[in-house]
């Protein structure tokens, strides 16, 4: 499949993930940062996940890789709107859809918007990611 096969408005297959303590610690170790809110306690009661721990829900490889030339795959922009903190250990469900595709400077571009909701039904973050395709 290619950029031509992307249908604006089409929904992507939803996916789920759980942010575990181990995942948070691995993320912090890889970045070389620390923050007790992520590992001990936070103003929300208990540890919460870093805001970008998923990197970008809208950039999920399973959504993009069927359409991209991975050797020329360029992550151009990401936008996030944070609604609620994600408590460590909660399951997250992400739903997304293709919202635009266009050509600019001899490249093909596309954008996915996604919403991540935790197992209690709280919206965690709305995100939007644009890549070359």
């Amino acid at each position: 499949m290619t950029w031509e096969d992307i249908e604006v408005g089409r929904e992507c297959e939803p996916y789920e993930y759980v942010v575990t303590e181990e995942a948070v610690q691995g993320y912090l170790n890889a970045l070389g940062i620390g923050n007790p809110w992520y590992t001990h306690d936070s103003p929300f009661g208990g540890p919460i996940a870093p805001g970008l721990i998923s990197k970008s829900d809208a950039a999920d490889p399973n959504w993009w890789f069927p359409f991209v030339d991975r050797s020329a795959f360029l992550h151009a922009r990401s936008e996030f709107e944070f609604i609620h903190p994600l408590r460590v250990g909660k399951k997250v469900t992400v739903k997304g859809r293709w919202v635009e595709k266009y050509q600019k400077r001899d490249r093909n571009w596309a954008t996915i918007e996604a919403v991540a909701v935790d197992e209690d039904g709280l919206i965690i973050v709305k995100s939007r990611t644009t890549h070359t395709v």
Partner: protein, 137 residues
């Protein structure tokens, strides 16, 4: 942790965050050794024409997110908005430094929204990622 208040002035500089991002960190971030690609494997990266492995763009986004978390505190997780634009590739080892400055104060019904210009620069002081962010205080 929280430093942003209604009294924070335009021009306030956020506390920077500087990290020497190594090959080992790059690989850990991108799932080595399960994931072998141009973010983790030097041979694959060179075959794609890169000098070395390419740091995932979201790494610099993570550093920007962290200085905003430390600046806005709990409000970041409930009212934060962030727009990242990725400008330059990064190859490890590379010192990455996230910085930010308050550019605007906007009155909204539910409070004052501080708008921050943030970026990550490499050790040559070139911006690799730029961002516009805001949250209520």
């Amino acid at each position: 942790l929280r430093t942003a208040t209604k009294k924070t002035e335009v021009g306030h500089e956020l506390s920077p965050l500087s990290v020497m991002f190594t090959l080992e960190m790059c690989r850990a971030y991108s799932g080595w050794p399960e994931n072998k690609n141009f973010h983790t494997d030097i041979d694959i990266a060179k075959k794609k024409g890169f000098l070395s492995v390419l740091v995932e763009a979201s790494v610099s986004g993570a550093y920007i997110n962290e200085i905003l978390t430390r600046f806005f505190g709990a409000g970041w997780f409930k009212t934060g908005k962030l727009r990242l634009t990725f400008l330059r590739s990064v190859h490890p080892p590379q010192r990455l430094t996230a910085k930010g400055i308050v550019r605007e104060k906007i009155e909204e019904d539910s409070g004052i929204r501080l708008v921050v210009e943030a970026w990550v620069e490499n050790e040559n002081e070139e911006k690799v990622t730029v961002a516009t962010a805001s949250a209520l205080v």
